[in-house]
Amino acid sequence: MKNFVEIIQSSINDTLGSWIYLLPEISLAFIFILMIIADLFWAKRIKNLVAIIAVSGLFIVFLEVIDQFILIPPQGVVLFSAMIKLSTAAIWYKVLITISGLLVLLFSLRDFQLRNTEKGGSEYYSLVLVVTLGLNFMVMAQNLLMIYLSIEFVSVCSYILAAYLTGNKRSEESGMKYALFGAVASAVMLYGMSLLYGFTGTLDITNQAFYNGLASINLMSASVALLLTLAGLFFKISAFPMQVWVPDVYEGAPTPITAFLSVAPKVAGIALLITFIRAVNSGGSPSGSVFLASTENLLAALAIITMTIGNFSALWQTNVKRLMAYSAIGHSGFILMGVAAYSMTGQKAILFFLFVYALANIGAFLVIGYFSNVFHSEELEDYKGMGMKYPLVSVAMVIFLVSLTGLPPTAGFVGKFFIFSAAIEAYMLGGNVLLLIMVVFGVVNTVVSLFYYFKIPLNLYLRKAKTEISLDKGNLLFSVIIIVLALFTLFLGVFPNKLIGLINF
């Protein structure tokens, strides 16, 4: 019974040693609890106390996350007996997630729908924090159990957030669709994981045994198991074939949540996907991975299909939120291009692209929220002539859309540029023509995306407002955030290496 003791001791030491690296997550949990208590006792007396706690708390967490850059060694640290791995890349993703979380919180503060729910906001804020917590684990997870846990963690909370507006038909509907579809997705994923476990005998995907197990059995069954597992991830990053739920949910959910869902889970999902792909591809055998070609082709194909579906369907939308939903699908496609071009450039490109995308997308949704605060509508029709009435915000909107389309001098252009470069580089190295075709598709899709993105400026500026009703002024907080985001988008467009330079892993 000697080794038993050793195991216990080692694992205990390991666990105790690991806590310090989880500072952000732990503090998130504490803040969560604190918020609940605060909600219970003082919420009545101090108005939106909870919100304040949430924002300030999340900001602290943000600082802690930044702090982790110094904390960890360059090659990263493996924690909790290889349950999670905290690497520089992971920290970057966490930074991105926390920032978007912060933005969404600020967003939510002034969203008229949320303020008018009978539930009140407090529960909502705590949930956002919890989702953030889950996402943080997602980007670090590298054990099937951990992956499953964190994904479910995020999902379940997201269902509630999506359906948060009780008494709002659309919100409820989106909640239900999200929940049911999500549940099925996770069930499928669970089944796939169980198979993987069966094939490899380990849950730790970075473990060499995992790869060997997969490589040893016949490719067919391995790919079945893998695909079933990946289904859950595709659901999170809204990639084909699990993108179907996106438009309805995004349209129905409260705008801040839509903004959040369109960015944060996608970031985490991509991070996780990369971990997964790396695990599958890191063949210890000198002949390289047996999956390399197949995964490359698979991802390229998925990228093409996804972006095509997203952009082309978006052509028809008249509801701005739904339009943005489809555009989100399209962007998943673009990101998948980066993943398909599996390389160092690819990962940097993806990270930068995600940053840019987050900025522009949240910005765009903020503007949508701003407008729906003003005239309670998300229909394209009602945007007519607003450009002249709200110049600043509209200009910002144009900047965001230009960035999403990927034209200079905005960050979006640089992002797309890097993604394309990564793909072409991968083509040059591997010579896989499918990648080249993928790039051509990407280019065509860029043009197509202009069709629908520019319907918004078209209505904002080129058309005259139907009714000359005098509208109340927009919200100051929103305008400030929007302007700041717009400026960032431009800045990163002109000086991308200010950010890219920092990213080194």
């Binding site: 099937l144 159990l145 499953y148 846990l149 479910e152 963690f153 999902s155 379940v156 269902y159 509630i160 359906a163 009780t166 008494g167 038909k169 659309r170 409820e172 509907e173 989106s174 909640g175 239900m176 669709k177 929940a179 049911l180 999500g182 549940a183 099925v184 996770s186 069930a187 499928v188 669970l190 089944y191 994981m193 169980s194 198979l195 476990y197 069966g198 005998g201 380990t202 849950l203 438009p247 309805d248 349209e251 129905g252 028809w316 739904r322």
Partner: protein, 104 residues
């Protein structure tokens, strides 16, 4: 081990479970039935985990995973039920196919 029952049987059973669940998920009109179907699918996964876990004497990861899965499944279903309840309040139906305000 497994009291002499060969592994294949378990795997087949779980596969059948999964398929049955999937079938009910896709075919049932009532949301509750869909949830039950989902449960079946999850259980198929859990069954697999437990069975495979039996061969992993050292860490028993399978069993652990199974426990977590059960808990999370319960949580997920609870939330789903709550949402369905709200939906019922709004739409006066629990048939997902009737709930289709947003489409195309």
């Amino acid at each position: 081990m497994l009291n002499g029952i060969p592994l294949e049987h378990f795997v087949i059973v779980s596969a059948v479970l999964f398929s049955a669940g999937l079938f009910s998920v896709l075919s049932r009109k009532n949301a509750i039935m869909i949830l039950i179907g989902i449960e079946l699918m999850i259980n198929a996964g859990i069954l697999n985990l437990v069975v495979f876990g039996a061969f992993d004497k050292q860490k028993n990861e399978g069993q652990v995973f199974a426990l977590f899965a059960i808990v999370l499944a319960a949580a997920g279903v609870a939330v789903a039920l709550a949402i369905i309840l709200n939906v019922y309040r709004q739409f006066k139906t629990v048939e997902p196919n009737q709930v289709e305000e947003m489409k195309y």
